[in-house]
Symmetry: C2
Subunit: 359 residues, 2 copies
């Protein structure tokens, strides 16, 4: 998860109230109520877990996509083919979350029959935080593995052209008494948006984040923005990003990398792709025995020696879960700017100020 | 792949002659001829691809495992359960390659029926280079994804205890006219053996490779050896390593991390585990269309701008393939010490000098 700076303009908002406002906004974009609810839940899920980059700050962009950006708010996903554990779904160019939610459910259903299933999704768009899908598998006693193609921001090893995406992956593995262990990461050393934050503040970026346009390391945020994001883990990150991108696209005929678009003009609506794997643990081993092993692995980390005695050791997904628990009670802490943008977007769509009072 | 220093003592040896010697050695350890051939092919495959860390330099260690180390050279793998795409195999404590080869073939067979299959392997041991398995899937028009548990050499983020393995993964994706794109990597910033090489030479190790026993970065090779290997990509590498380790072990009841053993006493024979996923591309999309997309992705990288005009841009697995093509013609270049060790091991097992003439 990402840590975000807080400021005096931050305000707290109740998660359920935020979901309601999202639903009104997406319904005003012609989505049906069920799809609007899915999309809203995906965004607020990310904010609840402190991953604001994939939360409601996306609303202005999403509304743009839905109204003038070429995304079809009324399309329903369709199954193009289904052979036991192998399913191809077309999202038919609705928001990514709609096709992806359908695809994850299809993977879970087929895994219950076949032990494991993979759904390849085409006709998709940006589908939000991937752990929203993998955690759904974990709730069903399954392992979820989901990957997505992304706009290219990196170069191949030794290269200068922006042709490799950070292509994120999420994996969730359920415990017995412990919460699922869940990772959700992309293969950039940093997010593109973080470089923009440093740029706005006129600060140099940390070493290791970016290359200039010639592929040389830079700490100048301006140069970095016209250059390349460095991969996480060097050539290993580039190789993994390529694999996740290929698994996300070419099994279904979606568009890999530069076929999705570029960072200047953005993604081409409906060209994106994702993959969804569900593994039914009970088909391999009793779920309770598996879950007990997960709990032991979590405990081993919790009880191991700390570098700083004051910092508890966490497993992947645990920090996000702590945010989720706190924010569910105290309300989600969001920048005033984000909430103002949502209000302005809602008013432009014809909602009235009373409906938007909570933001 | 790893680059190794060459020296005046390096000698070239014909791959087929090397396989023959390996087979004689493993047969002398009581393996049957079929298993000895598999194990030999795995090792020489790695050397042919320039990945000598997983090649015949392992022979003295493997012979130790087979003769006095507790590995059972005559055990045959057995299927513990098989439900459509979900299979559990017990390697019954023969060398890892034997159970793993059986498991990969089972995954390929089940994927042909179900579109995708996962085989979880228990009762296993070190199974050599993982791309030996994933490339077998690629040859059958399938995507292969294989991971392994490994001895813990890293700490959790913010920790000091050696409880996370580098847990390698390989993914192979077949092209049409292009060779498969294949990665095979572990989640350490470096291999433990590389730190030993620097230590032997009395050189400082590069920044970013290791932590001392307190989890602080060090470039002192001696301190690094009693400390911790750094992960590739920081917390992302640790999270991915944990996931690969869990997928490799707890679906079958194999032993994760510290349950496998430690770097001082080595792995406990028969405790290791791996996972093997095969994805039948034709169940999703015509193989020719898929392969053409892979070829396009490879071409895009080959034709993209280079940082250094003299250095061609390669896709994952391509450098290893170039080694393979060169070494197949010219013979494999190996350190004299490695070949001397093989000869000494063979003589100790009762082979005569004529049989070992090629090394």
């Amino acid at each position: 998860m990402a840590n975000y700076p807080t400021s005096e303009t931050d305000r707290r908002i109740d998660a359920a109230a935020l979901v309601d406002i999202c639903k009104m906004i997406f319904t005003a974009c012609k989505m049906n109520s069920e799809d609007a609810a899915l999309l809203s839940d995906s965004l607020v899920h990310a904010d609840l877990r402190g991953v604001h980059s994939h939360g409601v700050m996306r609303i202005p962009d999403y509304v743009h996509k839905l109204t003038v950006g070429g995304v079809n708010p009324i399309a329903a996903p369709t199954v193009l083919s289904h052979k036991k554990g192998a399913i191809v779904v077309d999202g038919n160019n609705n928001m990514g979350q709609i096709g992806a939610s359908f695809a994850m459910d299809a993977a879970i259903g087929a895994a219950a029959e076949n032990g494991i299933a993979l759904v390849a999704l085409r006709g998709s768009n940006h589908c939000g935080a991937l752990d929203w899908f993998t955690l759904r598998a974990a709730e069903q006693g399954m392992i979820g593995i989901v990957g997505s193609n992304a706009l290219p921001t990196m170069a191949p090893v030794g290269g200068r052209d922006k042709i490799v995406g950070m292509n994120p992956i999420s994996i969730a593995i359920p415990g017995a008494n412990e919460a699922p262990v869940v990772l959700d990461l992309a293969f950039g050393a940093t997010a593109h948006g973080k470089i923009r934050v440093y740029h706005q503040k006129g600060l140099p970026i940390p070493d290791g984040w970016a290359f200039d346009a010639n592929g040389e390391p830079t700490t100048d945020a301006t140069i970095a923005l016209s250059g390349l994001v460095q991969p996480a883990g060097g050539h290993k990150g580039i190789a993994l990003a390529m694999m996740v991108g290929m698994l996300s696209t070419i099994l279904s005929g979606a568009h890999y990398g530069t076929g999705l678009g570029d960072m200047v003009d953005g993604p081409i609506a409906g060209n994106d792709g994702q993959f969804f794997i569900a593994i039914d643990i009970a088909a391999f081993r009793p779920l309770a025995a598996f879950g007990a092993d997960v709990d032991d692995i979590v405990s081993e980390i919790h009880n191991s020696a700390r570098r700083d005695p004051n910092n508890a050791l966490l497993v992947p997904g645990e920090m996000e879960r702590q945010y989720e628990q706190d924010y569910a009670v105290d309300g989600i802490l969001l920048p005033g700017l984000t909430l103002d943008d949502i209000k302005a977007t809602g008013l432009k769509l014809g909602l009235d100020a009373t409906q938007l009072a909570a933001v």
